[in-house]
Amino acid sequence: MFNIRGSFHALPNLCPHQRGPLCEGGVSGTIDYGPHTDWKLAWIWEGEVVTCPWHSLEFHIPTGQCVAFNDIRLRTYEVRVAEGELRVVI
């Protein structure tokens, strides 16, 4: 479970690469580059990218999108705040 500026997100703790514990990785931003960044290196998604500790595959936490492989997207779980608890909808 991740808390990004007060907003809660949940991801499965299993990397599609070699099944590492991806949620135990560090959270940071990442680098982007392309016509959409005016062909300049850009630092994006600060605090929104989790990096799998096994082989550094990056995932965008709010969407589950694997940054390196377009066709891989983790399922995301809805998190509800109710009665002082965080509840993950499975």
Binding site: Q18, P21, G29, T51, H55
Partner: protein, 375 residues
């Protein structure tokens, strides 16, 4: 660390899991503490090692022993995993989680040994490391076997060290550091090492590490990324050394010597075998020492699987292995705990036939390193 040992269906319907297999890991890495090595080093080098021990080190990057010229831009992020092991107990614990039964230990800092410019320091490091490994790792934990390191700067001393441990089953191979190596391993100046290894029944293993250095094939300074340097350094180093050994006929002059190649994956093997066979048609007269084609000679070498290729179509890996008799010559290697390690479950899960998988996951390594197979 969670490990999922999913069963794989075998032909007869019985589900075999990773835990059922005898798994040999042909390549794991220990982390040398220079302060500990100092206790095993001849004076005055112990003083130097204690000095090195005062410096804060980075991943495989320690001034005085394994400096990296990393003119790279460091952004935050990346893996937060601990990528070194500093005790036999820690290593055995990590291997338990990976379901590995036996492992062969290689160094961290001494992967760069060929680049140490003082030959006497290099020799001292190798001799001290072998004693340190023997006393602090191999005799602590019987399932851990050692690669005996030789300094390429001093093959005579290397041969002496090989004979020093003759008959002691804790060492199961001789490690030939290839990163930044000035003179490739086919040169006759290494013959004393091959002679000693063949005499004592130890195979030799060539293993590189990512580096930029003015020695072929490490002149990679024009590449800007680790992606480029890492991708090229390892396989080109294996290719260069293998070709060098064929040129001077090392496997022919030392017919009992087993030769292995580590940490470059295996996709380069069929490429090189085919390329050399084509050359051989035209140029046999240049290599009269070879008694058979290069590809047939290469069939007797052994190859570590790591980093195992991950094509989009998984079955391509199985086809790739068939091209070099990987069923009999490939040895599972994890490279634990390094950044690019392969989890055994991943290699176990590739669509090999059950018998081929058993050989790749352990029996081939047992044959190469001379290990007893249980049961």
């Amino acid at each position: 660390m969670a490990t999922d040992v999913s069963p794989r269906e075998t032909g007869g319907g019985r589900r075999e899991t990773l835990a059922d297999l005898f798994v040999v890991d042909a390549d794991v890495h220990v982390h040398e503490d220079p302060g500990e090595l100092a206790e095993y080093a001849d004076p005055p080098w112990d003083v130097a090692l204690r000095e090195i021990a005062k410096v804060e080190e980075r991943y495989l990057d320690l001034p005085g022993i394994s400096p990296r010229a990393e003119y790279r831009v460091p952004f935050p992020g990346g893996s937060n995993r601990r990528q070194i092991v500093t005790s036999a107990r820690e290593l055995r614990g990590g291997l338990d989680a990976l379901h590995v039964n036996r492992a062969v230990l290689f160094p961290d800092h001494l992967l760069s040994l060929a680049m140490v410019r003082d030959p006497e320091f290099a020799t001292t490091l190798a001799v001290a490391y072998n004693r340190w490994l023997y006393e602090r790792w191999l005799t602590e934990e019987p399932s851990l076997s050692g690669a005996l390191v030789i300094a390429p700067q001093n093959p005579i001393a290397g041969a002496e060290d090989i004979r020093r441990y003759a008959g002691r089953r804790e060492f199961v191979c001789v490690y030939l550091p290839a990163s930044g190596l000035k003179i490739l391993y086919g040169h006759e100046l290494y013959d004393p090492v091959y002679e000693a290894a063949a005499e004592t029944g130890l195979p030799v293993v060539i293993h590189s590490v990512e580096a930029v250095y003015p020695a072929f094939p490490f002149q990679l300074e024009q590449f800007r990324t680790s992606l480029a340097v890492h991708a090229l350094a390892h396989p080109l180093s294996m290719i260069a050394n293998l070709v060098s050994m064929l040129e001077t006929g090392v496997p022919i002059r030392f017919p009992e010597l087993k030769i292995g190649f580590m940490e470059a994956g295996t996709a380069w093997v069929p490429f090189l075998a085919n390329r050399l066979d084509k050359e051989y048609v035209e140029r046999r007269r240049e290599v009269p020492l070879l008694q058979e084609t290069p590809s047939r000679t290469m069939r007797r070498f052994f190859y570590g699987t790591q980093p195992v290729e991950e094509p989009e179509r998984r079955s391509d890996v199985v086809a790739q292995f068939e091209l070099f008799d990987g069923e009999n010559q490939a040895m599972f290697a994890s490279d634990w705990p390094h950044h690019d390690f392969d989890h055994p479950q991943h290699v176990f899960g590739l669509p090999f036939a059950p018998e081929a998988r058993r050989k790749i996951m352990g029996l081939n390594a047992a044959r190469f390193f001379g290990l007893d197979v249980p049961g």
